[in-house]
């Protein structure tokens, strides 16, 4: 990951938007439990995991696995029954809830923009609660709109119902980031968006995260979204039990058990290829003749495989950014990645090149 892991004592700093500093803090869950009175099964059972500062942790699992509950325990929208949650080494359980929540960005699927407030006032919500000066709020709103690539003059004074679903979702994210929180919670933020816009918003999220480098807890039921967005993925099973907590590559290479293997899907080899670029493939040397079809070395291997198959299995010429020919991508060369039967031998650099582009 490009410089993502500068993790000094739970603190990471990145450059927010070119003008301001951005904060991030390490998040640690220790044996966190949630039980509801009158129910035998726990909603969350002894959940322990650490999210390094500036990383995206995706909570994923089938319905009933408690992923949203787990997320809502962190800003104490739900009170844990046991265990501890530490943000930057400090327990959230000892803190005043309103003060704590103002320090944690919060994005939900239905967005929950205030319909009676303009985009400007929506984004200014937490800064206003924190008592920032007018000038500082005004400047911050402009900065946030720029960050999510919306034109301030065009949208700042509109009401949420005058905007498209995708715009609203981006404004929801801008609102959550306005007070520069060290932690961002996102509960299926793209769940209600059509597939084309969802892909666009996912890419926009990765671009944004590369700039702000927040610690993010992201809930989804979509494993593909988890693989695309997560630095680490926590797979939960029914009863809020942590099935596996690992990077996307580890998860696909070594699913901890049958449940995880089934959850990531039978096509996990293909998904794994999606995390790797042609740069990692041992390309076949050119031997005079050059196939007409060509492909960029930055392409992920899954797309490259698809391109080769679409061409009837004929090799493709791999070129770098300057158009320099690097070799041939053949079916065999791609298959070679798995040749040892041990996919962990595959370089795990993939997520970085796919992400934070």
């Amino acid at each position: 990951m490009p410089g993502a892991r500068d993790n000094h004592g739970g603190q990471a700093k990145g450059n927010a938007t070119g003008t301001g500093e951005s904060r991030a803090l390490e998040l640690e869950l220790r044996d966190v439990q949630k039980r509801y009175a009158g129910r035998r099964e726990a909603a969350i059972s002894d959940l322990s995991l650490t999210v390094p500062a500036g990383e995206v942790c995706v909570l994923v699992g089938p319905s009933g696995s408690g992923k949203t509950t787990a997320m809502r325990l962190i800003n104490r929208m739900i009170q844990p029954s046991g265990g501890d949650i530490l943000l930057g080494g400090r327990s959230v359980l000892e803190r005043d809830t309103t003060e704590l929540r103002r320090e944690i960005g919060y994005v939900i699927q239905q967005i929950g923009l205030f319909p009676h407030k303009s985009v400007r006032d929506n984004i200014a919500t937490v800064p206003k609660l924190l008592g920032w000066s007018k000038e500082r709020i005004e400047a911050r709103v402009e900065e946030m709109l720029k960050l999510i690539s919306l034109d301030a003059e065009d949208v700042a004074d509109r009401y949420p119902n005058q905007l498209s679903g995708g715009q609203r979702q981006r404004i929801g994210v801008a609102r959550a980031l306005a007070a520069d929180p060290p932690l961002l919670l996102m509960d299926e933020p793209f769940g209600a968006i059509d597939p084309i816009n969802r892909t666009y918003l996912q890419d926009a999220f990765l671009t944004l995260q590369a700039k702000v480098r927040k610690t993010v807890v992201f809930v989804t039921h979509d494993i593909d979204e988890a693989i695309k967005l997560g630095d680490r993925i926590a797979i939960l099973r029914e009863g809020g039990v942590l099935a596996q907590y690992a990077t996307p590559a580890e998860l696909l290479d070594h699913p901890a058990d049958q449940f995880v293997a089934e959850f990531v899907g039978a096509d996990r080899a293909l998904k794994r290829l999606g995390l790797t670029t042609l740069a990692e493939v041992e390309l076949v040397k050119m031997n005079g003749h050059r196939p007409a079809g060509q492909i960029a070395v930055t392409t992920n291997v899954r797309d490259a495989l698809s391109a080769v198959l679409a061409g009837g299995g004929e090799p493709l010429t791999v070129v770098d950014g300057d158009g320099e020919v690097l070799g041939l991508a053949t079916l065999e060369a791609i298959g070679h990645l798995f040749k040892n039967g041990d996919p962990s031998s595959m370089p795990a650099s993939g997520p970085a090149s796919g992400k934070h582009a």
């Binding site: 800003n75 929208m77 809830t97 309103t98 003060e99 704590l100 929540r101 103002r102 320090e103 919060y106 939900i108 699927q109 239905q110 967005i111 929950g112 923009l113 205030f114 319909p115 009676h116 407030k117 919500t125 937490v126 609660l129 509109r158 009401y159 119902n161 005058q162 905007l163 609102r175 959550a176 919670l185």
Partner: protein, 244 residues
Amino acid sequence: MKLPLAAGGPIIPHFSSSGCERNNQLFCWGWFKQNWAGTLWPALKQHVVLTLIAVVIGFAIAMVLALIAYRYRRAEQPLIWFTSFLYTIPSLALFELLVPVPGLGLSRTTAEVALVAYTLLILFRNILTGLRNVPEEVRDAARGMGMSRRQMLTRVELPLALPAIIAGLRIATVSTIALATIAALIVNQGLGVPILSAMSNSTGPFKTELLAAGALAVLLAIAADGLLVGAQRLMTPWVRARAA
């Protein structure tokens, strides 16, 4: 001409009156002009005051009740019963029931107590419905961003309930304007006074006065409603905002 009291004899003037009045025709402009400054205009002003006091006090009480019911769901049903009970008491009976109460008697306070009682059900229900209709995700987002209960109420829930609250105020105001005419039975104020005096004319209702006072009450109701509609447009610009 002196304002006639509720218990009246003949109203139609015996001298210096036109043929129109003596024949009790449908509407005599001459009488209207002659009695505007002395009778109708003061009665209209009193009517406005009666209504304003009733709606303002009723709104304050209903707001407190609605906030209690909003916060404590168990209080909702008893409060609905209570306000509905008040609403169902026949107005004539209520005025009569209140007169013997010590400290009330034949006073404006008595009239206001009755008028306030009738506003409560509508205002209470509308305020509560408005608060309950605030979308759950909006409330969740407000809480998740660190608003206190009070901040949620004043910055999110009440503003979003405004359309329903103002709708309630419109109904309460218009119905109070109509009902306040009956207050003339216990207090010598409002547009009910000329209506009563017109009806107590010994030779049948004096049509001009009856029509004039009645029409003023209707016009007052329309004007008040219009003002509230205007206020709502000013206060809730987001309701009308649509994609450009």
